[in-house]
């Protein structure tokens, strides 16, 4: 038993504590898990639950756009398809949520593939504008078959995820944490075990060079599309079971833009960026919504915030903060806390300007000292 705990403690100390970004992530997840122990106020839980759902939604957009550079202006398609699938399966076939939600994800992928096939031939802006069209077309189809889809009334009476809101909360947060971790691992270029991240970065940076190096870029683009669609559909499925009402609003153009707003605010091409963006912006808009004056200025504030971030911190707020607290070693590329002077692995000086004056002595020091 002691061994077990010591292993966990060492992992915690060596892997999590060394990088401030990971510390923040840890604190954040811990906070999410501990909130219901302090208070179970239904409004607070509702906001956090919806934030978790939208975090999965925004992160799934980032997988595609941030990493393969394929700007998807119609991401609401996956969400809407997922939501409607879960709702229809639940209403017509009485399937429980733990069956409908994965099926929702799968269905979103299939629809995404059908929609994405023609899109593969298109470049840049053409792709972006075609993706904008798909949710609109699907909305038209929904209105064309109102008996099946409920038309503008949508589907209602979908079953709960669980009996009380607190257990709903835990289930959803757990799904969110797992999804975000999976998406992060899938796109992380530094990961040694899963190499897809490096490939995706290569595709985004220079597709032609990647192809020349023998990387099957089409396969990776499709893979990214599938992962993005799957998690977008999962988010939609969870939404259906939480709200218990699903309507054409899940395919709204503005909702597609929301994913982009949240991600860009937090930091594109990182998975923690969209999560941060959602958890900062969404509770803010909801909080503003509880006050009469705030309700009026809600979206104006959101739009203003986004414009400011884009003008002054175009990489996103999470990335801006990350760059303030973390620094990459110039020699071994390992991430360090910004307050350190020397890299924790190779002992190279992290800030070149500061060590300029001491010159030779530093060089000698580095060559003799070897560390773990």
């Amino acid at each position: 038993m002691n061994e077990y705990f010591r292993w966990w403690y060492q992992w915690f100390r060596d892997t999590v504590l060394v990088i401030p970004g990971r510390v923040i992530a840890f604190i954040f997840f811990a906070f999410l898990f501990l909130v219901p122990l302090v208070t179970t106020h239904p409004t607070l839980l509702r906001i956090l639950i919806l934030a978790a759902i939208f975090a999965i939604y925004a992160a799934s957009w980032d997988v595609l756009a941030g990493f393969t550079g394929q700007l998807n202006l119609g991401h609401a398609l996956f969400f809407g398809v997922g939501a409607y699938t879960a709702g229809l399966l639940n209403l017509h076939f009485d399937l429980p949520p733990w069956v409908t939600i994965p099926l929702a994800g799968a269905c979103a992928v299939v629809v995404g593939m059908i929609a994405g096939m023609p899109a593969l031939r298109l470049r840049g802006f053409y792709l972006a504008l075609v993706t904008l069209a798909f949710p609109i077309i699907l909305t038209g189809v929904i209105f064309a078959f109102p008996d099946f889809s409920g038309g503008e009334l949508g589907l209602y009476g979908i079953s709960h995820l669980s009996d009380c809101r607190t257990s709903d909360y835990y289930i959803i947060v757990l799904i969110m944490v797992c999804s975000v971790v999976v998406m992060y691992k899938f796109t992380d270029a530094r990961s040694r075990s899963i190499r897809t991240g490096v490939m995706l970065h290569a595709v985004r940076e220079d597709e032609i060079a990647a192809r020349a190096s023998g990387v099957d870029t089409t396969r990776y683009k499709i893979l990214a599309f599938a992962v993005s669609g799957f998690f977008g559909g999962i988010a939609g499925g969870i939404y259906a079971h939480f709200m218990r009402v699903v309507g054409p609003s899940t395919l709204d153009i503005f909702f597609s833009f929301q994913a982009i707003i949240w991600t860009v605010f937090g930091g594109i091409a990182t998975i923690y960026g969209p999560v941060a963006g959602v958890y900062i912006l969404y509770p803010l808009t909801e909080l503003l919504g509880t006050d009469a004056f705030g309700q009026q200025i809600r979206f104006a504030v959101l739009a203003l915030l986004m414009i400011f971030i884009l003008l002054f911190m175009p990489d996103g707020i999470a990335v801006w903060i990350r760059d303030k607290i973390e620094v990459k070693c110039p020699r071994c590329k390992l991430v360090n806390v910004a307050t350190r002077q020397y890299c924790r692995a190779c002992r190279a000086p992290l800030y070149l300007e500061k060590t300029k004056s001491t010159g030779k002595k530093e060089e000698g020091e580095n060559e003799t000292e070897i560390h773990l």
Binding site: R123, A133, I137, G140, L302, L304, M306, L310, P314
Partner: protein
């Protein structure tokens, strides 16, 4: 048949004015200005304020609106787009943010209800058995005049040549001594002015409300993509194709007339499948290998 032609021409004409403005800005300044139809909306509201709320004559309000919106467009460019013009995607997102901001400001000022503006010319005329309001014909006429005027500007005048040069190859234009920044600013002003004109001629036909920018934006984007990004001729043709597609849907499928948006977009996708660069797509110099 006559109905489809007449109504199709009118909607196509209006979309063409919007599409051309959008395409111009994109071709010259490489800005995907999603707030383009928001300018159109601001012009419509400004005319509403001037005519219905303050009682100014309509023509004066229209002229003022065009001037004001052009200035707003140039301001947006200088304050927002110019700062980050190297990154195309953030520019597009900033324009989305601006559009939403304008929408919310208008909601705060006017509420979400629908308003009406008096038409420049009231009444209707019968053409080939079809009753067409004079305002619709005016819209069509104005679109044609504007398009011809723009074509003359671009092909005959010095400014037009400069614009075409910058659109064609920015670096070489700069080397040749054309002030690229100034040309971009002028183009943004012209584009916003075009959006304002579209707002002025269409506003009496449709209702004025803070959400009126979304639907024309989708059609404008579709028209520009269909015609091929960077080609003005393509945008005009794309706009007319979509205008006719929408009108045909309404007449041939009266029970399906709500699908006209979806049909128009469907046509855009089909064309892109066959020609991935749009009908008259232009390859930009950055992408030439």
């Amino acid at each position: 048949m006559a109905k489809i032609i007449v109504n199709g021409l009118v909607s196509g004409g209006v979309y063409a004015v919007l599409a051309v403005g959008f395409s111009l800005v994109f071709g010259v300044a490489r800005i995907l200005n999603m707030a383009h139809t928001a300018f159109y909306m601001i012009a419509a509201f400004f005319i509403f304020v001037c005519t219905v709320m303050s009682g100014f004559p309509l023509l004066l309000s229209v002229a003022l609106a065009i001037f004001l919106v052009s200035v707003v467009g140039i301001l947006c460019h200088k304050l927002f787009f110019d700062r980050i013009k190297e990154h195309t995607i953030p520019v597009m997102l900033v324009s989305v943010g601006l559009a939403i901001l304008f929408q919310e400001l208008l909601v705060m000022g006017f509420g979400g209800t629908y308003r009406a503006i008096p038409p420049l010319v009231a009444g209707f005329v019968e053409i080939a058995g079809v009753r067409v309001p004079w305002q619709h014909l005016l819209a069509l006429g104005t679109s044609i005049v504007i398009l011809i005027g723009l074509w003359l500007l671009l092909s005959k005048s010095r400014l037009g040549k400069a614009i075409r040069a910058v659109a064609n190859d920015r670096e070489i234009a700069n080397v040749m001594g054309i002030d690229v920044g100034w040309v971009c600013t002028i183009t943004v002003g012209i584009s916003a002015g075009l959006a304002a004109i579209a707002g002025a001629i269409v506003a009496p036909i449709v209702m004025v409300h803070p959400l009126m920018w979304m639907q024309p934006l989708v059609i404008t984007l579709a028209a520009v993509v269909l015609g091929g990004l960077g080609s003005i001729r393509g945008s005009v043709i794309g706009a007319f194709i979509l205008g006719f597609a929408e009108t045909a849907t309404v007449f041939l499928m009266p029970m399906g007339s709500f699908l006209k948006g979806a049909v128009a977009l469907g046509i855009m996708i089909v064309v892109l499948l066959l020609r991935p660069d749009g009908l008259f797509g232009v390859i930009f110099e950055e992408e030439r290998l």
